[in-house]
């Protein structure tokens, strides 16, 4: 019981209080600067949207969330594999790393037609964009982890005449796991952004509309209160994925932590 109270006080209460303060400041600022409602809505208006449109918002959040999570999982798997290859060969790493950077820097609007051609409109295209935006931090962090193993540990494995495979699976992989966690934390927000941006360009048909579509539609119709609701929900989605990733990471990796 005391443990529970401590968790609430140290982990749950501070962000909630910060949110309340922020919402208060927001309302005050709008009144103070006489901000027009079509530029920034009052918190109360946004809350009313959450209540009134909760089904639409939930459905959109679910769709976007699915695409973001699939994109993230795909980027973890592929990113890990690429990093593994990079960690084993300097030549491969030096030749192909720039292309990994390309994945981070290419503007989605430029490659959207290509993505549509390869994946078509709909879920797979959106997941592809989420993947592209989230894979680089995984590659970069895991590669760094696998190649930063201290010399002394490598020498230990030399002494025991370890094979390349043993060195990889028993040394480099475990050592890189905290780095992987850092990468996935970074990518959790990016995957949501990717899913939303993906919806802008490769979207869904019929009634498959996600948060990206909602953002576009409400902006087009100057419905700023609904726009804010969709944007806030997108932020919360990213935060939620981040929280789940952190929780899973702590549970699985506690035995690997040195500290």
């Amino acid at each position: 019981m005391k443990q529970f109270a401590r968790v609430v006080l140290t982990r749950v209460a501070p962000p909630l209080i910060a949110s309340a303060v922020f919402v208060g400041l927001w309302a005050v600022a709008i009144q103070l600067f006489q901000v027009k409602s079509f530029l920034a809505p009052m918190p109360g208006d946004v809350w009313r949207v959450f209540v009134r449109e909760r089904e639409t918002l939930w459905h959109a959040c679910w769709l976007t969330g699915q695409a973001a999570v699939f994109g993230l999982l795909l980027s973890v798997v592929c990113g890990f594999v690429v990093a593994a290859v990079f960690s084993q060969s300097k030549i491969v790493r030096y030749s192909l790393y720039p292309y990994a950077i390309f994945l981070q820097t290419v503007p989605i609007v430029a490659i959207a037609p290509l993505l549509v051609m390869w994946f078509g409109y709909g879920g797979s295209g959106v997941i592809a964009v989420a993947f592209i935006l989230s894979v680089f931090p995984i590659i970069a962090n895991v590669t760094e982890g696998m190649t930063s193993v201290p010399r002394s540990l490598h020498e230990l494995f030399d002494l025991n005449r370890a094979s390349r495979w043993q060195r990889f699976t028993k040394l480099q992989v475990p050592y890189s796991l905290p780095y992987l966690v850092t990468g996935v934390r970074t990518s959790s927000g990016l995957s949501v952004i990717g899913a939303i941006v993906g919806e802008f360009f490769v979207g869904y048909g019929g009634d498959g509309f996600g948060l990206g579509y909602l953002i576009r539609v409400t902006a087009e119709r100057f419905q700023t209160d609904q726009l804010f609701a969709a944007v806030i929900l997108s932020t919360l989605l990213g935060v939620m994925i981040f929280a789940v990733v952190s929780f899973v990471a702590e549970k699985c990796l506690s035995r690997f932590r040195a500290i």
Binding site: T10, R11, P14, P15, A18, S19, F22, L25, W26, A29, I30, F33, Q34, V35, K36, S37, F38, L39, A40, V109, A112, P113, V116, M117, Y121, E199, F200, F201, V202, G203, G205, G206, Y213, R216, V217, T218, A219, E220, R221, F222, Q223, T224, T235, V239, F242, A243, S246
Partner: protein
């Protein structure tokens, strides 16, 4: 740490919003309506649909009224409605449905004149698809801008149930690449562009289904209209004369348009100028009445938007437009 990252995110959200709020002080009367330059913000890349505005500048009609006007090109996402609503810009161009949607959100816009009596909005499909009417729309992908009123109208009309609606990104490339692809268009613009590239487009006019908002409307802020009606009267008069001049002699004006929009070629603009004539001056309309609007048309649009749940029943359209500057034009001095 977990919770400090959330705090960081919330703080950065707040920090991002704050500069936006700082820009929103006080007065409604546009900062730029003095004896200095007045800004007229276009809703898209400069095109034949803006011919009258450029003509007014080119033939000196603004100067005749003693006004200095700067035409500001627009594009996708250009915040013309917001800028005029906040008073940052004096005049804007948009379509009638946008005016009513803005009013629904308490943005104080007033429409002054309608460049096009009839809407140029159409769906463009390939001849190869075999589709020649709305009822035949099936089995294709159709690129429509998210949230557009005409799209919701067509959807409610039932003609989109067998097509796959996809996002419209402003490029005709996906249309050119696939004969089973259609997209939204303006009848005097994209069809010509794709024809030049070898395609055979077929246009389905949305107005044929009954949705026909006034287009390329000149609008302003309610406050400016109340404080400086004489300036507004002058601008409207100059623009109306501009449209008559453009329809009469588009070539020199098209060169001005192309300067602001190098992506357009002169042939396309010429074609556009010819094709737009019917929309601006339908047979029944006298030249002196160019730009005119009626209560009946606005009421009808409001009714249609209410039926598709884009505006509320109690929105009063009469606040959204003014007929006071639409007397028959006198012959130019």
């Amino acid at each position: 740490m977990f919770y400090s990252s959330i705090l960081a995110r919330k703080l950065s959200l707040g920090l991002m919003v704050f500069p936006l709020l700082l820009g929103c002080t006080g007065t409604e009367v546009p900062d730029d309506v003095t004896d200095e330059t007045i800004t007229l913000a276009l809703n898209w890349y400069p095109d034949s649909q803006h011919g009258g505005f450029y003509a007014a500048e080119h033939f000196g009609f603004f100067k005749d009224e003693g006004l200095q006007v700067k035409i500001e090109p627009g594009g996708p996402g250009a915040p013309v409605v917001q800028n005029v609503g906040l008073g940052r810009v004096a005049f804007g161009v948009g379509n009638a449905d946008q005016i009513l949607l803005a009013r629904e959100q308490q943005i104080p816009l007033v429409a002054l004149m309608a460049s096009m009596q009839n809407s140029p909005r159409c769906l463009m499909v390939h001849q190869e698809s075999g589709i020649t009417s709305f009822e035949q729309l099936k089995g294709i992908k159709l690129a429509l801008g998210a949230g557009k009123s005409f799209a919701k109208f067509l959807s409610q009309d039932g003609v989109l149930k067998d097509v796959q609606v996809v996002p419209y990104t402003g490029s005709v490339a996906p249309f050119l690449a696939d004969p089973q692809f259609g997209q939204q268009a303006y009848v005097f613009s994209e069809p010509y562009v794709v024809e030049q590239r070898g395609a055979h487009p077929v246009c389905l006019m949305v107005s044929d289904r009954g949705f026909n908002p006034y287009s390329s409307i000149l609008f302003t802020n309610e406050e400016l209209l109340q404080e400086k009606p004489e300036v507004v009267a002058k601008i409207v008069r100059a623009v109306r004369r501009g449209w008559l001049a453009y329809l009469n002699d588009p070539e020199p004006v098209n060169q001005k348009i192309q300067k602001d929009n190098p992506e357009m070629n002169l042939e396309a603009l010429s074609y556009g100028a010819k094709a737009i004539a019917d929309l601006c001056l339908p047979a029944a309309l006298a030249k002196a009445d160019i730009g005119t609007m009626t209560d009946a048309r606005w009421d009808e649009l409001k009714q249609q938007l209410t039926e598709i749940e884009l505006v509320s029943e109690d929105l009063s359209p009469s606040q959204s437009y003014s007929l006071q500057f639409l007397q028959p034009l006198e012959a130019s001095p």
